[in-house]
Amino acid sequence: MLPFTYALRNLFRDLSRLAQTVGGSALVVLLLIASVALNQGMDSVLSASGSAKNVILVGKGSEESIERSEVHLDAESSVITSIRGLEEQLGTPAVSGEITYQAPIRTASGKEDQALLRGVLEKALLVHRSVRLLEGHFPAPGEVMVGKLAHRNLGVDASELALGQRIYFENEALNVSGIFTAPGTVLESEIWFDRNDLASLTQRDTLSAITLRMDNAEFDDVHVFTLQRNDLELAAIREDVYYSKLGAFYQPIKVMIWVTAALVSAGAIFGGLNTLYAAFASRIREMATLQSIGYTRGALLVSLIQESLLATLTGTLLAFLIAYFLLDGRTVPFSVGTFTLILTPQVILTGLAAGILLGTIGTLPPAIRCLSPSLPKALRSS
């Protein structure tokens, strides 16, 4: 085996090449971990938002979009009386008729942007179990409570949605009475209104959907209810299924993320391969000399791979550092909520694997090309 110092010093033979391989692999790894983190963040917020114990009742034909759905107000009491085995707390069954709405909200600073609104009564907390009030109280008429990340979707500073602040909807001023968290779910980006407030502000007399939480009831019981009461024109969908379908809706965006990352990476990889070809080609005679001394091609290949791995793993480390400071914990708003980029072990392992593959598989083509000429021929080359 060739000494490790040989690989190490070869690395510093050409500083611009070193900068390119380190920088290139950092770019590739960074793009990869950013893409994985984006995908994971989006997936995890959607999957955390839906519970297998919750069923959403929507108007028939609106299974894809709760926003377009309309459910008669009376349906809520029919659900409570007809379906057995729902969760209850202090005699109140976990059934929450809600209005969901997307509309522009203006904050005190005058900035107006699309927000996710939900009109609820206090029993909403019985079905949305991840929701916890951090400060203040549940909204009474004329009040709203805002999710901890709602400001991200509005594109304003968190202070503009702080307790006691005012927001404006349809020229009506509302007081922020509470701040809530719903860790890892889309709810955390919403603004919750008193249900009757939102109904009158949006001039509607129907609900968007009814969410219920099952105890020993089963989905089929709810489904049978929708069939028995087909006069209500309801469709039942499990909450987790609803959100995973929503995830499928974002598939094209994910594909775009991957395609972009792949195109930029391909550029960096081909550039890197090119410099490696040139760098190794300039050492053909030197490697032939080492073979004439008695080193095998295998030993030389190992040394070349060591050299490349040093560069690509340095790049990987650089990518991790950049990701740690620029990506980790960053929240990204999208149409139905906000997700968080997290450097999970899986993300880190993916990046590390990429760095190792770049240094090994990526080194093979130029290394093999440079080790393939016959020994006498290689010794002759200059």
Partner: protein, 227 residues
């Protein structure tokens, strides 16, 4: 039996339909401890013959025995191993590894064996002393003169005590004084250390330093005078 014994050695290269035969039906004996010079016009097959003797290349046909071993039969892998223990190769342009110091360059053949660090240090020191470069041990090739580089290359070629040294125009790139000191060194290695040396040269003065000179032309030895 001669140290190098070559019988009916032929080497041809085929590329597509054309084939070149730089060496044809060549026979040659070199006794142990002889310093042999090979001369001949460019393209006459000198380097080709040297590469065959050094186990760098394999013959197309014929017999090539070094110290009683027919290296024509060895596989690539066996040849590599054989080179590591039995041959030192000296090149016209030294071929030192630029990122390694003189000391580290000389250490290269030893790292293939099982010596301890201290044992290696002793051998490298001895080789450096022999080529009179102890004070340059930690210089990189770029910091050495051509003559010094070639002496480092010789130290690298002998540090693992091979019986055979091959040198392809070792003084071709050097001034007269440096060339003379290299030739003296080679003479010393043959007479005092019993190395068998085959040296290719274009320089008649260099050839004079050898015990015997052979002339190669179009792949054949044209005369074989004993001196």
């Amino acid at each position: 039996m001669a140290f190098i014994s070559i019988r009916s050695l032929t080497k041809s290269y085929t590329k597509g339909k054309t084939s070149v035969t730089p060496l044809e039906n060549l026979s040659l004996d070199v006794p142990q401890g002889e310093f042999l010079a090979l001369m001949g016009p460019s393209g006459s097959g000198k380097t080709t013959l040297l590469n065959l003797i050094a186990g760098i290349d394999t013959p197309s046909s014929g017999q090539l025995e070094i110290n009683g071993r027919n290296i024509a039969d060895l596989s690539q892998r066996q040849l590599t191993q054989w080179r590591a223990t039995h041959v030192g190769y000296i090149f016209q342009l030294y071929h030192l590894v630029p990122v390694l110091s003189a000391y580290e360059n000389i250490e290269l053949p030893l790292l293939l064996g099982k010596l301890t660090k201290a044992e290696r240090r002793m051998k490298i020191q001895a080789a450096l002393d022999l080529v009179d470069l102890s004070d340059r041990a930690h210089h990189r090739p770029a910091e050495l003169s051509g003559g010094q580089e070639q002496r480092v290359a010789i130290a690298r070629a002998i540090v693992h005590h091979p019986e055979l040294l091959v040198a392809d125009e070792p003084t071709g790139d050097l001034d007269r004084d440096s060339a003379d000191s290299i030739l003296t060194l080679l003479q010393q290695l043959a007479t005092e250390h019993g190395k068998t040396i085959v040296m290719v040269t274009h320089d008649p003065k260099a050839a004079q330093a050898a015990h015997r000179t052979l002339h190669l032309e179009k792949g054949q030895l044209i005369n074989n005078p004993r001196q």
